[in-house]
Structures are given as structure tokens and as C-alpha cells.
Symmetry: D4
Subunit: 76 residues, 8 copies
């Protein structure tokens, strides 16, 4: 197996969506940990998946209430 398997996704949500969005992300396969946080992001997601692109673009980013994501690919 090769390619990109590990990432942190920093998420911004709108209004009070953070709680629902977090609930849905935690149930996704490939999510090792997800936390609601204080600061200039609202949620941090630790992704470990055979297909990070699919996780981020088709699963996480399509959730209602997400307004921005910043995906940090694990390098080493």
C-alpha cells in the first residue's frame, strides 16, 4: 500500500453546526479522532485512511455547516 494515508483536517463551521458536524465526522470510517476546539478553527480531525482525498473531498467537506477546511498531510 502506498500514497497518502494520514492527515489532520482543520475545519471551520458556521453558527452552532460544530456539534452536529463533529457527531457525523466521529462516525466516519477512517477517522481516528475528532475534537471540537477553541481558536481560529472549530474542529480538528485525525484521518487515517487508504483514500484521504475521498475522505476530505467527498465525505467531510460535503457535510452541511462546514465553511472551510485546511488539510495538513502527514509527511513523516
Amino acid at each position: 500500500m502506498c500514497g497518502i494515508n494520514n492527515a489532520y483536517v482543520l475545519v471551520k463551521t458556521s453558527g452552532s453546526a460544530a456539534i452536529d458536524v463533529l457527531d457525523k465526522i466521529r462516525k466516519m470510517e477512517g477517522v481516528k479522532e475528532a475534537s471540537g476546539v477553541y481558536g481560529n478553527y472549530d474542529i480538528v480531525v485525525r484521518v487515517e485512511s487508504e483514500d484521504v482525498a475521498d475522505m476530505v473531498i467527498r465525505k467531510i467537506r460535503t457535510l452541511k455547516g462546514i465553511v472551510d477546511t485546511n488539510t495538513l498531510i502527514v509527511a513523516f
Copy 2:
């Protein structure tokens, strides 16, 4: 009493919402001070509350006209 009681919330609003949003924030219990400001944020809120998470997520962030918040938890 323990946990997170003190924070500054930096708020961005849309259009001319800043005035109304500020008015509503100033009336909330747990808000020590709130100011309309010039710069890359529109409002600064000084929160002192037994439940900062509730203040930020359920009370402040659900106000119509808020587009982004950045909560700085007081450390020391």
C-alpha cells in the same frame, strides 16, 4: 469551581450586522465587555462565565450576521 471561565471572542460579521450583533451580545449574561472594532475582526467580546463553551457555541455563534469567530481562552 474549575474549568474554562475566561475568554476573548474575536467576531467577524457580515454587512452592517455588527451594530445589532453587538447590541445583543452586550445584553448576554457572562459578557463583561463587548466592543465594535476596526481591523480584521469586527467585535471583541470579553467573556467571564462558568460555561464558556455554551456562551460561544450556543449563544454568540448562533446570532444572525456572525460569519466567523476566534475564541482565545485565557491561560494565565
Copy 3:
């Protein structure tokens, strides 16, 4: 005369709104210069007015197509 009279307003617009927004800003009293720019902002407005707060909050920010502003008050 005292108070805040001078500012630069950095503006972000949505879609192709920049051209129309710029056209309207240039016709406002109190605008010395306004330019469409390349970069992480779309328009720079040089404001010289007796009431900068009114210019920014009630006149500029209420224009359709503006999504964010950053007002830099002139200090010296």
C-alpha cells in the same frame, strides 16, 4: 475637528462583484481613491471622512457583493 478621519479599507468581494462594487465606492463622498487589486484582497479604498465609522459600517459594508473588510485606521 478631532476623531478618526483617515483610513484604508481592504475589501474582499464575491464572484465578479468587484467591478460593480468599485464603481459604487468611487462615487461615495469621502472616498479619495479606490482601486481594484490583485492579491488576498480585491479592492483598496482610501477614506478621508469626518465619520469613518459611518463610511465603513453603513456605506461600504452594506454594498451587495462584499464578503469581508479590514479597516486600517491611519495613526500617523
Copy 4:
């Protein structure tokens, strides 16, 4: 020939729009390369055109699903 002919456009998109937006950008005349990327931007576009302003403001920015662009003009 003179003026601005070369630029990189950093693009943010909403939801899962990145794939469709990228597809449309790649078909535009004046686009040398366009890539979907991980990070605090979603797409990088390498523009080489006789009219960069027209490319960015009228063609790229009007695509549905784009929420922000940052145009870096090539200097040297």
C-alpha cells in the same frame, strides 16, 4: 506585447465543488496548468494569458462553487 501576462491563482471552493471547478478551469484558454491541492487553498491555477484581469475576474471567479481567490502576479 506588454502588461500582466503571468499569474498563479490560489482558489478556495465550497463543499465538494473543487472537482467540477477544476474541470472547468482546465478547459479555459490561458490556463497552463491547474491542480487540486491539500492545504489552506483547494486549487492552484497557472495562468498565462494576454489578459490576466479578464481571466481572473470574468472567467475564473464567476464559476459556481468558488468562495475566495488570491491572485499572485508573476514579477520576474
Copy 5:
């Protein structure tokens, strides 16, 4: 009295300087409150002074260990 009297100064510090910097800021005349915070800034200073420019440029910014400041002038 007129002019700029009220501001919040968001401060970034280097290394472990935040504690010393905060200690010095708290002793300055014109500082109503100063807090060490978690997030993309390290210290928030609430300034109420007859000369905000002097406070920010000559007093706060010259402290050793400060690497960046963002002054939000209170508008209303």
C-alpha cells in the same frame, strides 16, 4: 477629550517570553487588563489611554520578545 482612547492589542511573542512580556504590560499605565491566551495570539491587552499610538508603538511594541502586534481600535 477626543481622538483614539480605546483599543485591544493582540500580541504574538517568541519562545517563553509571553510570561515576562505580560508581567511588564500589566504594570503599564493605560492598560486596563492583559491576559495570556491560547490560540493564534499569545496576549490580549485592553488599552484605555489618552495616547493609544504612544502606548502601542513606543511602550508595548518595544518590549523584548514581542514578534507581532495587531491593534484593534474601538469604534463604538
Copy 6:
């Protein structure tokens, strides 16, 4: 037990310091995971400690080669 126990620390490093800094962070007590990443940050640290303030200010931030940190406190 109460107070702040959980956080993500986003770290920027200078030059090629990321590898050494990461090595030192991984050996610290209270660090659950630390990863070198691509993007607008260089390292993500998952902290779970009885004293997050001490971890961030006295241990992590004093490492040579760190130029900026952004601590996201876990809220829920």
C-alpha cells in the same frame, strides 16, 4: 481532575529544524502524537497533560527552531 487537559498545538519551524524539533517533542511526557505535516504549519502535536499551559509555554515553545505556535484547546 479539572482544568485544561487536551489540546492540539500547530507549530511553525524555521529552516530544516522541523525534524529535530519533532524528535524532541515526541519524547516529551504528555504528548500523545506528533506529526510533521505539509501546509501552513510544519508540526501538529496532540497534547494530553494535566498542565497544558506548562507543556506549551515552558516545554514546546522553548525548543530552538520553533517560530510560531497556535494552541487549539479541546472543548468537547
Copy 7:
């Protein structure tokens, strides 16, 4: 005449350098206006010059005390 002649340069300075830097910038040929400002930048420079690249890279950026610049090229 063609090419890039018009720009706004947003400048960040260190410590109390802003005053000296501003003084030097105001004396440069090609600078129409330069202002010390409050916010996430310290100085705004309005450049109108036959060689913006030379102004920004060789003249403005080499001044002692400047730590960052963001050049917004005028598009229209």
C-alpha cells in the same frame, strides 16, 4: 507606457521601527502616499512608479526593520 506602474504595499515592521521606516519610505521617489496604520499591518504605501518591482524588492524591502510585505498590484 505599459507594465505594472501602480500598487499598494502593506508593510509589517518590528519593534518601534515603523516611525523610521515610514520616514524613509516617504522620501522615496515613486511613493505617492505612505501612512502608519493600526491593524494587522503597520504601514500602507501607495506606489506609482515605472518600476514597481524595483521599488518593492530593492528599495522598500531592504529597509532595516521591515519583516513582511504584501504587494497588491492595481488591476483597474
Copy 8:
């Protein structure tokens, strides 16, 4: 062949280092294109290499005069 082969590296430089840094980057194996740009970054590097991590961390980031990099890994 698998793994990360393609990236854009956005670079900030100090003073007038951009010209020298760009010159050195253009001579590196694995650099398809590198451009000096106007905006909130100074150089954009298009990397196509079998070892992007090595290119970014050991080769590009160790150049004198670079103060910050943001590596956008190509996803699709």
C-alpha cells in the same frame, strides 16, 4: 511509482533575498518552474520530484533568506 511527487511551495523571503533564493531554487533538480510573485508570498515553486519531503525540508527550506513556506501537495 507511488507516494507524493507533486507540490506547489509558496515561499516568503526576507529583505531582498527573493532574487538570490529564486536563482538557487531554479537550479534544483525536481523544480519544474519557479516564479517571483507579488502578494502575500514572494516565490511560487512547482515541484515534481520522487521525494517532495526531501526537496522541501532539506533543499528549499534550508536556503538562507527564506522565512516561511507553505507546501500545497497536489491531490488530483
